[in-house]
């Protein structure tokens, strides 16, 4: 499988704290890449660098498609869900479409339906529950028909039904050959959805592996992670 994104020697520091230490990441086109790491390992910073929110201090990010004169469309839900509290769900989607330079009402209606937001489309975003806010953020991420979707802890705040919906949505994206990067603490969930994994520890990528490797090892992702990380 071709690579979608290759990150080489990425470094990032805040004040004198090294958050990312010469990290290399290969994300295959059409894969679901599960990013694993404990709190403070650098997952969110790595995602922010990958999506262009933060500039790395060093290293390179190469989108393979870029070479073919097509800049891949990236979308992401990073950290807290981002949208305008003063706008309704629908207005947020319209605003984002305007930013992307697209405005197709059918597309908005479809994404609202897919994410179960149709009953809430006229509500102000600030009045939504945490789970619905997460859905809105995902809707904003998907509306531009991206080539790469990055979801940072997308399961946070979702109820069991929401988790199932998100899982199905990720599978749907995978079927459509869209590359997905998901970071999560819930390894059992990640094991079900991801096809490739990367383990971050103290700002370093300690291992990248495929789902086949876990299957071959005969143990669960959680145990595999602890074995590699050197935990209990």
């Amino acid at each position: 499988m071709d690579n979608m994104v290759v990150l080489k020697n990425i470094s990032k520091s805040y004040k004198k704290n090294v958050i990312l230490n010469h990290i290399n990441v290969n994300i295959k086109k059409g894969s679901i890449y599960g990013l694993i790491g404990e709190n403070g390992a650098g997952k969110t910073t790595l995602i922010k660098v990958l999506t262009g929110i933060l500039s790395p201090d060093g290293g390179t990010i190469n989108f393979v498609e870029e070479k073919r004169n097509h800049l891949p469309r990236i979308s992401a839900v990073v950290d807290e869900p981002a949208f305008f509290n003063s706008l309704t769900v629908e207005q947020n989607l319209i605003e984002h479409c305007k930013l992307l330079g697209i405005l197709e009402k059918e597309k908005i209606a479809a994404i609202v339906l897919t994410l179960g937001l149709e009953k809430h489309k006229d509500k102000l975003a600030k009045n939504l529950s945490l789970g619905l806010k997460q859905r809105l953020a995902i809707a904003l991420a998907l509306i531009g028909e991206p080539d790469l979707v990055v979801l940072d802890e997308p399961l946070n705040g979702l109820d069991p039904e929401g988790i199932m919906d998100l899982r199905n949505l990720i599978f749907k994206l995978h079927k459509e050959k869209i590359t997905v990067l998901v970071s999560s603490h819930i390894l059992s969930e990640l094991e079900q959805i991801a096809t490739d994994f990367g383990i971050l520890k103290d700002g370093r990528m300690i291992k990248e592996f495929s789902k086949a490797e876990i299957i071959d090892s005969g143990i669960k992702l959680e145990d595999y992670y602890l074995k590699i990380k050197g935990g209990k």
Partner: protein, 259 residues
């Protein structure tokens, strides 16, 4: 750049608080015009100086030169508009879709200037409509001097908008930006005078440029206005905006955004 402006103006249009502020400004103009019609004399004292609205000229000038009044509304509105991006963490959405920081900064500057100009124009339009409806004798206002005053007044507010934009993009925090912006509006005259005195004392060669830079901040609209004054104000606005674009843009580009 157009998509950035397009989506931001859509948000502006849909925000109820902003619509309320425009209604408030229109009401302010309307009340003053109605007071004129009924020959009621009203004095307002804001931070020391007493403003008396006893003639159409004073009501007209109130919009252009009442910087501590409408200026505060400009500061609040621009801050609420720009800082919402930081408080809602939406700035990152723009970066994710590969909009450059410089373009984002420049679009915010255009929007801040547009908001500032629209505020003064809404007030003046209400006052002029009042005259056209016969609430006072509009002919008292129609002269070349007032056209010049209107142009300079608009440039003054445009400069205020640009500076408030710089403050917001620098601090990336609504609370700090609103405090600093209001402090700037209140202490603007004092600050500009101090800078002028310092530059006069040290007799710097750049005094000419500094004078020009501070022109829109210290303009007195009560004297006779000539074409040269409008030209100077325009140059001053251009210089100030260029400094804000270059310095502010560089700072914004080199700092990690509050995401």
């Amino acid at each position: 750049m157009l998509t950035l402006l397009n989506c931001d103006f859509y948000r502006f249009k849909k925000n109820r608080s902003f619509r309320s502020l425009y209604i408030l400004i229109s009401l302010l103009g309307l009340v003053l015009v109605l007071l004129l019609k009924n020959d009621i004399k009203l004095g307002i004292s804001i931070i020391g100086s007493l403003t008396l609205f006893t003639s159409p000229q004073e009501v007209f000038m109130a919009g252009l030169d009442f910087r501590k009044g409408l200026g505060m509304i400009v500061a609040i509105m621009v801050t609420l508009f720009i800082s919402e991006e930081f408080s809602c963490k939406t700035m990152k959405l723009k970066l994710i879709v590969k909009k450059s920081k410089y373009k984002i900064y420049f679009s915010k500057l255009i929007e801040a200037i547009s908001i500032a100009i629209s505020i003064v124009l809404v007030y003046e339009i209400v006052v002029i409509i009042g005259g056209l409806l016969g609430f006072y004798n509009i002919e008292e206002l129609v002269n070349i001097g007032n056209i010049g005053r209107l142009i300079i007044g608009i440039l003054i507010y445009a400069s205020i908008g640009a500076i408030i934009c710089f403050i917001n993009m620098f601090f990336q925090n609504m609370f700090t930006s609103i405090i600093v912006s209001l402090a700037y509006i209140i202490l603007n005259d004092t600050f500009s005078s101090i800078i002028k005195i310092i530059f006069t004392r040290v007799n710097m060669e750049s005094l000419g440029i500094m004078k020009l830079l501070l022109n829109t901040q210290t303009n007195n609209l009560y004297f006779e206005i000539k074409v040269i004054n409008c030209f100077q104000s325009f140059l001053s606005f251009l210089l100030l905006t260029s400094v804000i674009v270059i310095v502010g843009g560089k700072i914004f580009e080199s700092t990690d955004i509050n995401s």
